[in-house]
C-alpha cells in the first residue's frame, strides 16, 4: 500500500474509500433502475391511487381526491372485496399445501431409489411448463370461459361427491372439509407450482449430515421423532424462503381474477386511479402476509446466517 501511495501522490483515497466507490460502481445499474423504474413508478402509482386521472394528448393530470378510490374499492365496487377475500384464502391454503407437498416430495427425493434423476427432472419441469402465458392458455379464451361451467357439470365427479358426502355425514367440520376437498381438487395446480420449492428443500435436506440421523437412530429415535427434532429445525430457514417464493409466485399470476380486474380497470375503463388503488390494497395485504409469516418463522430459525 505505502509503495503504491508514494507512486501516486495525487490520489489521497485510502483503500476503504476506493473499495466503497468500486462497490457503488458495481451496483450502479441496479441503483439507476431502482430509482427510475421502481421508486418513481411506485410513488407515482401511490399518488395516482389518491387522485383521479385525466388523460389528454399533452399528458395526464392528477387531481387529489383523498381516499375516494379506496372507498370505491371497498364499498361501491361489487366484486372487489369478494375477490380479495377469495384470493387471500386461496393464497393461504395454496401456500400451506405447496409447503407440505414440496417438503414431502423433497424428503422422498432425498432417498435412494432407481430413476431418481428422472423423477427430479420431471418434478422441475413445471417451472417451465407453468410459466407466463402457458398458464390458463386453454381456459383464457372467450368460448372456453363461456362453457366451462357446462364442462364442470357434465364431467365425471360422482365418485368424489360420494366420498365427500360420506365424510360430511361422519361429522367432520364443514369448513375444514371444504378446504381439504378444495386442495385435493387443485392438486394439479399445487404440483405445477412447487418446482422451485422442491429443489430448495432438497438442497437443504442434502446439507444435513447423515450422522445426525444415525446417532438419533442409535438412541432409539423413531423416524417420526427424528423428522421433528432434526429435519424440521434444520430446514426451517428454508421454510420462509419457500413461503415468500410461493406467495409472490401466486400473487404475480397473471390469470387470477383480481389481477384481471386491476388490468381491466386500467386498460378498458381507463380508470387509472381506481386501478392503482386496488393494486395497492392487494400489494399491502400481501406484504403484510409475508411480514407475519417471516415474524412467526424467523423465531423458530436456529442458526440464521444471513
Amino acid at each position: 500500500m505505502t509503495a503504491r501511495k508514494s507512486e501516486m501522490p495525487k490520489r489521497r483515497m485510502d483503500i476503504k474509500t476506493r473499495r466503497a466507490i468500486s462497490g457503488y460502481l458495481f451496483i450502479l445499474p441496479f441503483i439507476l433502475g431502482f430509482l427510475l423504474f421502481m421508486v418513481s413508478p411506485l410513488i407515482h402509482s401511490l399518488r395516482m391511487s389518491f387522485s383521479s386521472v385525466e388523460i389528454s394528448p399533452q399528458g395526464f393530470q392528477l387531481s387529489w381526491n383523498s381516499f375516494q378510490n379506496y372507498i370505491k374499492a371497498f364499498t361501491i365496487d361489487p366484486d372487489f372485496t369478494r375477490l380479495l377475500t377469495e384470493e387471500f384464502t386461496k393464497i393461504v391454503t395454496h401456500t400451506a399445501a405447496i409447503l407440505v407437498f414440496s417438503l414431502v416430495v423433497a424428503i422422498i427425493l432425498n432417498q435412494d431409489f432407481k430413476g431418481r434423476a428422472f423423477v427430479r427432472a420431471v418434478f422441475f419441469l413445471p417451472v417451465i411448463l407453468s410459466s407466463g402465458v402457458l398458464v390458463g392458455l386453454e381456459t383464457n379464451n372467450s368460448l372456453m370461459s363461456s362453457i366451462s361451467s357446462l364442462i364442470k357439470e357434465n364431467s365425471n365427479i360422482q365418485l368424489s361427491d360420494t366420498v365427500i358426502n360420506i365424510l360430511r355425514l361422519s361429522g367432520l367440520g364443514r369448513g375444514i372439509l371444504d378446504e381439504v376437498v378444495n386442495i385435493i381438487a387443485q392438486v394439479q395446480d399445487i404440483v405445477m407450482a412447487s418446482g422451485i420449492q422442491i429443489i430448495v428443500f432438497l438442497t437443504g435436506l442434502q446439507s444435513i449430515s447423515g450422522s445426525l440421523y444415525e446417532a438419533a437412530d442409535i438412541e432409539g429415535c423413531t423416524k417420526w421423532e427424528s423428522f421433528w427434532k432434526i429435519t424440521f429445525p434444520l430446514i426451517s430457514p428454508l421454510l420462509i424462503v419457500n413461503i415468500i417464493y410461493s406467495v409472490i409466485d401466486f400473487f404475480m399470476k397473471t390469470d387470477s381474477e383480481i389481477n384481471n380486474k386491476i388490468r381491466d380497470a386500467m386498460v378498458i375503463n381507463m380508470d387509472y386511479g381506481f386501478s392503482s388503488a386496488m393494486a395497492w390494497i392487494y400489494f399491502v395485504l400481501v406484504i403484510a402476509l409475508i411480514g407475519i409469516c417471516s415474524l412467526i418463522f424467523s423465531k423458530r430459525v436456529v442458526g440464521n446466517n444471513a
Partner: protein, 337 residues
C-alpha cells in the same frame, strides 16, 4: 440374501429368512413387509405425480397429431388412428410461426444477456464490497423481488406513454412528450438496469454464489497487481460461468413465455407468446372467414393444444439439454436466507 453367502466369514452359518424371522419373533418379517409396502406406495405416489405433470404434454401431443375425424371417434382416446401434421401447418401459418420464433428467440437471448450481465455486476458488488448504505440497497433488492409488476404497471405504462427525462425531451419536441409505447427500448433499458422479469431473484442467486467464492482468489489477484475490474473479469467471472449460464437459461425461458412485459412493452414485435395466447379466436376467425365453415369446440381446442406445443417445444429441447444446469443452479447457489 443368497448372494452374500460366499462372502460370509468363517463360523457364521447362514440361516434362511424364515428361521431368522422366527428368532426375531416376527420382527424381521414385519420390517421387510413395512419397507416393501413403503417402497410400493412411494412408487405409486411418484408415478402419479409424474403422470400428472407429463400428462398434459402427452395429451396435447396426441391430440395435435389427430385428424379431425379422430376427434369425434369415441373409440380413440390417446393414440391417433389417422396421423396428420396438417394442424401444425395451419397453426404455423396463422401465427407466422417462423417469424415469431425468430423474433422470440432473439429478443429472449438479448434480454437474458442484458439482464444477467447487469445482475452479475450487481450481485458481485453486493457480495464483495463494503460501502455505506449497503443494507439499505440490499433491502431495495428484496423490495424488487417482492413488488409485483402489476402494482407499478399502470404508472410504467403512463411513464413510457409520455416519456421524458427531466423535461428535456418536451423542450425539444414542441412540448410533446415522447411516446415510447409499443417500442421495445424501454424494456431493454429496464433489462440493463436489473428491473426486468424476476431480476431481483437473479441478483439474489448470484450474490449467494459470489459470497461462497473463496476470497483468497481475489487477494492473490490483487497482490499480483490486478485492479478491481480486472480481477472480476479475469478471476471471478470464469469461476461463475455455471451459475451465470443457469441464470441466463431462467431468464431466457421466463422471457420466452412471458406475457406481462411483452404486452406492455413488446407489442410491436411478433412474439410467440403473444401470438399463441390469441390463437383460439384467430383460428375460429380464419375458419369462418376464409373457409366459410364453422369450427367445433373440440377442433378449436386441438389447435390451441398444437400451438401450445409449438410454443413449448423449443423450451423442452433447451431443458433436455441443460437440465442439470437448471436444477443445480438453485442447489449450488444455496437459496438460504
Amino acid at each position: 440374501m443368497r448372494k452374500q453367502e460366499t462372502a460370509l466369514p468363517n463360523g457364521y452359518h447362514p440361516q434362511s429368512f424364515w428361521t431368522r424371522n422366527k428368532r426375531s419373533h416376527g420382527y424381521l418379517l414385519k420390517r421387510e413387509a413395512r419397507s416393501k409396502a413403503y417402497k410400493f406406495f412411494r412408487f405409486l405416489l411418484l408415478f402419479a405425480i409424474c403422470f400428472l405433470i407429463l400428462h398434459p404434454v402427452l395429451d396435447k401431443l396426441s391430440i395435435s397429431l389427430m385428424e379431425e375425424r379422430d376427434l369425434y371417434d369415441s373409440s380413440i382416446t390417446t393414440i391417433p388412428r389417422h396421423v396428420t401434421t396438417e394442424n401444425y401447418s395451419i397453426v404455423a401459418q396463422q401465427i407466422y410461426y417462423w417469424k415469431a420464433l425468430f423474433n422470440t428467440f432473439w429478443i429472449s437471448v438479448l434480454v437474458a444477456v442484458l439482464q444477467v450481465a447487469a445482475c452479475t455486476l450487481v450481485g458481485y458488488g453486493f457480495a464483495r464490497f463494503e460501502f455505506p448504505l449497503k443494507k439499505l440497497w440490499f433491502a431495495a433488492v428484496v423490495l424488487v423481488i417482492i413488488v409485483p409488476p402489476q402494482t407499478i404497471s399502470t404508472s410504467l405504462f403512463l411513464r413510457f406513454r409520455y416519456f421524458d427525462i427531466f423535461g428535456l425531451i418536451r423542450l425539444f419536441n414542441n412540448g410533446e412528450a415522447l411516446n415510447l409505447r409499443g417500442s421495445s427500448i424501454p424494456y431493454y433499458l429496464m433489462s440493463i438496469t436489473c428491473m426486468g422479469l424476476k431480476n431481483g431473484l437473479y441478483i439474489y442467486m448470484l450474490r449467494q454464489f459470489f459470497s461462497g467464492v473463496p476470497i483468497s482468489l481475489e487477494e492473490a489477484a490483487y497482490v499480483d497487481g490486478c485492479n478491481t475490474f480486472h480481477t472480476f473479469w479475469k478471476v471471478i467471472l470464469p469461476e461463475a460461468v455455471p451459475i451465470i449460464v443457469s441464470c441466463m437459461l431462467f431468464a431466457f425461458v421466463w422471457q420466452w413465455t412471458d406475457s406481462f412485459y411483452s404486452k406492455l412493452f413488446l407489442g410491436g414485435n411478433t412474439l410467440l407468446s403473444m401470438e399463441v395466447s390469441g390463437i383460439s379466436d384467430r383460428i375460429a376467425n380464419y375458419f369462418s372467414t376464409q373457409l366459410g365453415i364453422g369450427i367445433s369446440l373440440g377442433r378449436r381446442n386441438q389447435f390451441v393444444s398444437t400451438a401450445t406445443l409449438m410454443l413449448v417445444a423449443p423450451l423442452l429441447l433447451v431443458y433436455l439439454v441443460a437440465q442439470r444446469s437448471f436444477v443445480e443452479s438453485i442447489a449450488t447457489s444455496g437459496m438460504k436466507m
